[in-house]
């Protein structure tokens, strides 16, 4: 008897909730989703290494806007790069950035990540988090940009150090000395080296 009333009531609730979900989700919620999933994967020590690697990669790639980050990492040099160089760079940089980001999270995350809140400015936002680690609490800020219904990360700032600006400064110097070809070659070698060393987990 009671069920009969309960079902239409639920339907009503769902209908009432529908227009609300149409608004873009909060940046902090989307970051939380990704970061929590990354940490859960990193903590799952029993998992097959190859499988974990693939899942981590999928998570990060779904949330990071590697194309935009690539443009910023090259700065001025983006404009002078040929289309082939650009797409080569995007692919290499995505790999390296993924390694770096996951590496940082793995290093710093002991217990928990605290989500301190967000600052929104139209299509852009910043999500403040804090990683509780051995020595201190490390502030990590995600800069995100709205594309359609999703917020995409275009920079990660760890303890005041922007990853993209950090890459940009190094790459700029490498390009100045060795040219775009030299940079791409270095990146290829580094990725190979990282892949090969992944066999042994550090103790």
């Amino acid at each position: 008897m009671k069920m009969r009333h309960a079902i239409p009531f639920f339907l009503l609730l769902i209908l009432a909730a529908a227009p609300v979900t149409a608004a873009p989700p909060a940046p902090v919620d989307q970051i939380r989703q990704t970061v929590d999933a990354v940490i859960a994967l990193l903590k799952n020590k029993g998992m097959d290494r190859q499988e974990r690697r693939e899942q981590l990669s999928a998570l990060v790639r779904a949330r990071f806007d590697f194309e935009v980050m690539s443009q910023w990492a090259l700065g001025k040099n983006w404009r002078s790069a040929s289309p082939q160089e650009r797409s080569r760079f995007i692919s290499l940089f995505s790999d390296l950035l993924e390694e770096t980001y996951v590496g940082r999270i793995e290093d710093y995350t002991d217990e928990a990540v605290v989500y301190l809140g967000e600052k929104r400015d139209g299509e852009r936002a910043e999500v403040e988090t804090q990683v509780l680690s051995g020595n201190t609490d490390i502030p990590i800020r995600y800069k995100v940009r709205l594309k359609g219904e999703e917020w995409f990360v275009y920079d990660v700032v760890i303890e005041e150090v922007s990853l993209v600006r950090n890459f940009r400064s190094s790459y700029d110097e490498i390009i100045r000395k060795e040219g775009m070809g030299g940079l791409l070659k270095k990146m290829e070698e580094k990725i190979l080296e990282l892949r090969n060393s992944k066999g042994g987990e550090k103790g």
Binding site: W72, S162, R165, I174
Partner: protein
């Protein structure tokens, strides 16, 4: 990794600094080669950003440069520090890990607490009164109720730590970094921050409570204790970076700039 230098104020560096001061002045960065303005424009890629966002972000993503006129020397010291890290400091830190982590964290807090007077002084010099009173409150509370700083009851009272040093004070008054400096043992620094460290060293209570040798010993102990708690972040940076020297140099500059801006 940038934290590697920590707040370690040392007298060791003064003779070295004096040498650097006498060295050649810092030239500005050589100009970048002119970008081939039109190269990419005929064939805009799918991934290109709309122009307005490009402009908006241009400033935000601008790299910070630091002059590095003694780069070959810096790289040499960087190399030596790297060896010292792997063959001396890190093995000692690893051995320390037999001590339970909570104990090492407490020791770290106590060392941090000893640095409070210097932080208070720098807050005052920067006319940051909230910072000064908070750090002073932390020092009083943690030194007493917190048993000489082993515990941090002040934090529970809402007194959050501030990180201030004389390098930042100079920065607040508009002094630039000068040029990049890799200090032996202590790691990344700059002319300004190196001088700052020397000045902060004079405010270090340990210097007056202990002899010079013991004070240096205490600094080494602080450093080793910190390293034992660190999760090998230097190793990761070194492994991932195309050129760790450049990565760490820029990381240092960005971080210091961020601290000065706070």
């Amino acid at each position: 990794m940038v934290r590697i230098t920590g707040r370690t104020a040392l007298l060791l560096i003064l003779p070295f600094l004096a040498g650097c001061l006498a060295g050649k002045p810092a030239p500005t960065d050589p100009p970048l080669p002119p970008a081939l303005e039109n190269a990419g424009e005929e064939n805009p890629e799918e991934g290109d950003l709309p122009d307005d966002l490009l402009l908006e972000l241009e400033e935000e993503m601008e790299t910070v440069h630091i002059a590095d006129p003694i780069e070959p020397l810096n790289r040499g010291i960087f190399w030596v520090n790297d060896k010292l890290y792997f063959y001396l400091f890190k093995p000692v830190a690893k051995a320390l890990r037999v001590i339970p982590e909570p104990a090492r964290k407490s020791v770290g807090k106590a060392f941090d607490n000893i640095g409070a007077p210097v932080r208070v002084a720098n807050c005052v010099l920067q006319a940051k009164m909230e910072c000064a009173t908070t750090e002073l409150g932390r020092f009083v509370l943690n030194s007493t109720v917190g048993l000489g700083g082993l515990f941090d009851p002040a934090r529970g009272e809402g007194l959050e730590p501030h990180d201030e040093d004389f390098g930042q004070t100079l920065g607040v008054y508009g002094l630039g970094q000068g040029f990049y400096l890799v200090l032996p043992v202590l790691g990344p620094s700059s002319l300004r921050d190196g001088i700052g460290k020397g000045v902060d060293g004079f405010g270090d209570p340990l210097r007056y409570l202990l002899g010079t040798g013991e004070a240096i010993g205490a600094k080494v102990a602080e450093r080793e204790n910190w390293l034992s708690l660190d999760k090998d972040s230097y190793e990761s940076i070194k492994k991932e970076a195309l050129d760790p020297y450049l990565t760490i140099r820029n990381g240092y500059v960005q971080r210091r700039e961020g601290q000065v801006g706070k």
